[in-house]
């Protein structure tokens, strides 16, 4: 397996860290490694060249020579420059206009249709009333796909048979103005940036509709060609931003750096899963940290805060103190954990360098969660409060009721018993210690 960029940089920079003085040769050695790592992460060749030149200039300069910890200083420079390249600030979506118009464009298969719906759902949740527009009249089934996804998300979708894309968009905006929808999100057909006629069509849509945002949808797994496509789309349309898709795989996502460097446009969102709410605001600073192996702890904390009910957390804490943690509470904890996303997703946000190696590529069977839930739900309320009454006949009934085996039930009960023992040991004092840590809002299992 390849080490990822973060691991590689970490490895290289660890060697530098210990040094009291950095020779130019030391710096060159590290920069060579960083160059290879960035290329392997699919950052564009020319972008890497510029990046390395920028880091080198600063790394052999005064700030490092005068530093007592030159290794640390180089780490900081690499991180700084990476963040600078990615854009410093998180960039918000512009939905100005009545109705506001957001136009999505991109190559075939980059994920425009799914992204359009994710974006609309995101806007709906923050109080807007968006309208989705099926402007892809070329790919068979494209309009149906948008319609089905829109229905699933409870969003309106504008379709028109037999009309061209420009006409559809115009009618959609008129419809939106009448019905009070804003913004209007245009899902255009995927096209090659070489296809002059198709690019002309996009220009026409832009000229007629005057969108507040023209967003390029880019597959995070794209290689060196990301710059060619991005530059062409930017030249033709004057992009205002980028949405990165499929960032939930194991891609190192160098395309993000390339596209940003070539267009100068901010990356506004990142798609991180197949579910319709798997779209996150893109935080350049955090992405840089993630690449450098410092982990995306900020996102993790935000997720935890968003999905944890503070009130429930306080109740739970009380119960734990009084050692009244029941199987019902256990199930609730699991549910809250699941609300944060898949375990794999959560793991990917943790600083990889701090995790034991076996855990870094851990894959968790999500079905296991469901099984545990089913087992607990197959118990009577009394059994959940006092698991000690569960004898073998009850075990058999629970296993049958939950579609599992007696062994599964036993395993769960054993785990629960262990956990109770743990809480007993922690007692009052242990809790205070836990609370002092960066853990916020009841999270006893982390």
């Amino acid at each position: 397996m390849f080490a990822n960029l973060a691991e590689k940089l970490q490895e290289t920079l660890r060697k530098l860290r210990g040094k009291g003085k950095l020779s130019e040769k030391d710096v060159d050695l590290a920069l060579r490694e960083i160059r290879l790592a960035l290329l392997e992460a699919d950052v564009n060749f020319k972008v890497v060249k510029d990046f390395i030149a920028g880091v080198r200039e600063r790394a052999v300069g005064e700030e490092v020579r005068q530093s007592l910890t030159p290794g640390q200083q180089v780490v900081k420079i690499v991180h700084d420059e990476l963040t600078a390249l990615m854009g410093r600030q998180q960039s918000k979506l512009n939905t100005a206009g009545s109705p506001g118009v957001i136009m999505l464009a991109g190559l075939q298969g980059s994920g425009k249709t799914t992204t359009a719906v994710k974006l609309a759902l995101n806007l709906k949740r923050s109080g807007s009333s968006p309208l989705l527009v099926a402007a892809d009249t070329y790919r068979p089934g494209a309009a149906e796909q948008l319609q089905v996804l829109a229905d699933a998300a409870g969003l309106p979708c504008f379709r028109m048979e037999g009309a061209g894309p420009v006409k559809i968009c115009q009618e959609a905006v008129r419809f939106a103005a009448r019905e009070g929808h804003t913004p209007v999100i245009l899902d255009t057909a995927g096209r090659l940036h070489l296809d002059a006629a198709m690019m002309e069509e996009l220009k026409e849509i832009k000229a007629q509709l005057k969108p507040a945002e023209v967003l390029l949808v880019v597959d995070a797994m794209t290689g060196q060609d990301a710059v060619n496509a991005a530059a062409s789309f930017h030249e033709a349309l004057g992009l205002t931003g980028v949405i990165l898709t499929k960032l939930d795989g194991d891609t190192r996502g160098g395309a993000a750096l390339s596209v940003r460097a070539v267009t100068g446009c901010p990356i506004k969102f990142a798609g991180v899963g197949e579910k319709l709410d798997a779209l996150e605001p893109f935080h350049p600073e955090r992405m840089a940290s993630r690449i450098l192996g410092m982990g995306d702890v900020l996102t993790l904390i935000e997720k935890a805060e968003a999905s944890f009910d503070q009130q429930k957390a306080r109740e739970l804490e009380k119960k734990l103190r009084r050692q009244e943690f029941t199987l019902d509470d256990f199930r609730e904890q699991l549910q809250q954990l699941r609300k944060m996303g898949s375990l794999e997703e959560i793991m990917s946000l943790l600083p990889s360098a701090q995790l034991p190696k076996e855990l870094r590529h851990l894959s968790v069977d999500e079905k296991q969660f469901k099984r545990i839930e089913a087992i607990i739900l197959s118990m009577t309320p009394e059994e959940r409060r006092r698991p000690s009454i569960i004898n073998s006949s009850r075990r058999r009934r629970i296993a049958r009721g939950s579609g599992t085996t007696v062994q599964d039930v036993n395993r769960l009960l054993a785990q629960y018993a262990q956990m109770q023992k743990l809480f007993k040991q922690m007692g009052q004092k242990g809790f205070k210690q836990l609370k002092k840590g960066k853990r916020r809002g009841g999270f006893p299992f982390f």
Partner: protein, 283 residues
Amino acid sequence: MRRLDHLFREGELTEEFFDSLEEALILGDVGVEAALKLIEQLRSETRRRKVRSAAEAREILVEEIAAMLSLQEEPPDPGGDPLVILMVGVNGSGKTTTAAKLAHRYRQEGRQVLLVAGDTFRAAAIEQLQIWAERAGAALIKQQPGSDPSAVFYDALHAARARGIDVVIGDTAGRLHTRVNLMEELKKIHRVISRVQPGAPHRVLLVIDATTGHNGIAQARYFNEAVPVTGLVLTKLDGTARGGIVVGIQEVLKVPVSYVGVGEKLDDLLPFNAADFARALLA
């Protein structure tokens, strides 16, 4: 875009020449590891053969890459049963369109083709394949969206025998190779197919987008671990991307490239030509 031509005209084998070749390979998404290795080999080869001209050196590199990519897919032998082909790959790589193009190819040869709507997850994927099936003149087996894809294949294989179909082409849902559960689902599809018809699927085609970077290597590795891949299809080669990642894939996994996709029309699927591909990579 003939960015390298001036180098070959100038003729000398300079450091700059090798560096530029390396750059061309990396820009073509060949992959850093494979690119460095190829250039190293070229250096020693030109020394050994006392090659002086850049044009000659390029020919050596073209031959080397072409040789790497010249593997052929084993001709499948379904006996008297239908030939079964399974399309797999990540989201948006072009599986559905490629399945349709492949159906069209077999139809041109006069064979009876059955398309299987095995992508029951993506919204309207079934409708998309249905439209393609009509255009290609192929039959279609489908079920409700959200149904078990393995069940769709179970039905399809029985239907294929009953109807005297020659070729069964199965579309599957796009899945990121890191999604364990989805890869398990793919394994199950494969298992069910080979249970209904021993020896099938005869061809498992991994569809890779030509714009893919290093991630293509991981895709090939993981998919091949789940279901033994017999060939690659490199799609969207009509853009500016060169699809060099198939060279990188060749380094770790010996899987032949079977077809390339070069457009949105039904006949835009061509057999892979290693020499042409290598030449385009270094153009």
